[in-house]
């Protein structure tokens, strides 16, 4: 059986100390198979974004281990890790440096990792995300939300990682733009053989893009299922069931007015 590309073993993340200690992630364990798209769903404050930050090294781990290709990840992470695992953030308006052009934003990771021929790599990745060369020297404030998110995806892609962590990548976008970005993510995954961990509060988005999903509540995983099981309604946990029911929409009571 193939080894999972990423594995979390009993990972806990807590902030603050003593009385003020807040446990954001509580004893979470799961594995990501190579080429798999895994979803992490939960409402706000359930710790799902913190899990991504723990994996990427942005949040300190209080307990547990994280294994990449069977080897424990170093803390602080090294360049080899960053070349393998990248992240796309939620807010298209906050994740790009306001004073850097798209070209500068994309050349930065190449310069840090000393990749040769940055010009070609930048043009290629812009084409991959559906932005032409005309976007190369624009500033973020000259781009729409969807275009900015494409640049964020390009930035994550340019080092040719194997895993991309997606933190609510479409929550801040309009519905029509969301569809474009979801299609883009799906196409890129097929084309480059990527593995995704997608965090979202939107069950429909997760069911669309992921094969398997984990439901989180209060920092811990309460249920695990495949997307098909979710669609079939085979949910055991009451919290998950409540989320599924809520995503079906509002049902108006019959009234006399």
């Amino acid at each position: 059986m193939a080894q999972p590309i990423l594995k979390l073993e009993n990972v806990s993340v807590a902030f603050g100390g003593g009385r003020l200690r807040v446990t954001a992630v509580d004893d979470v364990s799961f594995a990501l198979k190579d080429g798999e798209s895994l979803g992490l769903v939960g409402e706000s404050g359930t710790g799902k974004s913190t899990v991504l930050r723990a994996i990427s090294g942005l949040a300190p781990i209080r307990d547990g281990r994280i294994l990449l290709d069977g080897r424990e990840v170093p803390s602080p992470r090294d360049l080899a890790f960053y070349a393998t695992v990248q992240m796309v953030f939620q807010d298209p308006y906050g994740s790009l440096h306001p004073r850097h052009t798209v070209d500068q934003i994309l050349s930065e990771p190449l310069a840090i990792h000393r990749r040769p021929d940055p010009d070609t790599l930048i043009s290629n990745v812009l084409r991959d995300v559906g932005l032409g060369p005309s976007f190369r020297f624009r500033y973020p404030h000259q781009l729409s939300g969807g275009q900015r998110q494409r640049v964020a995806v390009a930035r994550a892609l340019i080092l040719r990682p194997r895993i991309i962590l997606l933190d609510e990548p479409t929550s801040a976008l309009d519905a029509s733009v969301q569809a474009e970005i979801l299609n883009l993510l799906e196409a890129l995954r097929a084309e480059h053989g990527l593995s995704y961990i997608l965090v979202s509060h939107d069950l429909a988005v997760v069911a669309h893009l992921c094969e398997r999903l984990l439901v989180m509540q209060r920092g811990g995983i309460v249920e695990e299922m495949t997307a098909d099981e979710l669609r079939a309604g085979a949910v055991a946990n009451p919290h998950t069931a409540a989320m599924v029911a809520a995503s079906r929409g509002f049902e108006r009571r019959a009234n006399s007015l």
């Binding site: 409402e43 706000s44 939300g145 309009d174 519905a175 029509s176 969301q178 569809a179 474009e180 979801l182 299609n183 799906e186 196409a187 509060h201 069950l203 429909a204 988005v205 069911a207 669309h208 893009l209 979710l230 669609r231 409540a242 989320m243 599924v244 809520a246 995503s247 079906r248 929409g249 509002f250 049902e251 108006r252 009571r253 009234n255 007015l257």
Partner: protein, 279 residues
Amino acid sequence: MSERPLLAIEDLRVRFKLRRGTVEAVRGISFSLGRERLGIVGESGSGKSQTGRAILGLTPPPGEVTAKRLEFDGIDLLSAGASQVWRLRGSRMTMVMQDPKYSLDPVMPVGAQIVEAYRAHVKASNAEAREKALEMLAAVQLRDPTRVLSLYPHELSGGMGQRVMIAMMLVTDPDLLIADEPTSALDVTVQLEVLRILDDLVSQRGMGLIFISHDLELVSSFCDRVLVMYAGKVVEELKASRLADAQHPYTRGLMRCLPKLEGDQHPLPVLDRDPAWAL
């Protein structure tokens, strides 16, 4: 016997004269509202929020509002003086906004804010107003209204904050409530609870409601009629129950491009924006 419409709007336009040019946020929309629920759906930049603000006279400068007709219960809002609009706003027509974190005063306890909202428009003693505030907090199904009275906005969860907002906006028993994305900042399960409360209150009081949102499905399940806005204009108007019969390609495209839990297409059908829609 036909009642005078609560709101009669004809050719409403909202313009912003900026240094780099004039931006037209709303480009001539017309509709009327009785004691019913109207949904206004659109994406960002469609002008839906500016429409709501224009009705209440809350358009931020340098915005300019013009219309052939902008009447609330027969009162011409455009020619009415500032003091008259001020009297109407908050008492007979009110607005619930998206995030209670930003729409409630952070340095006052919420009870005091409801009391202030009440006494601004109704002659009442402090004790009477406090009673009314407690009544409203119970009406929005907050457990332990007395305790909530003394809490500060940052001590409330998202759902509680929004209920407080609804209580505050309905305390003067208005005829018209405009809700601008009232549940967008809330978790999905909390959204339903808040909508349920809004549903009951609006039905009981026989109010007119304008529900502004980007969520077409939600709006059509909550309202009687739906207006779809695109680039400052209304591109479609339909009965909420007849959503499936939508004609305009934008509305149809909007419905099709959403991922659905029950199953959908790979890749998702993408909205093909026709520049003709913005004309």
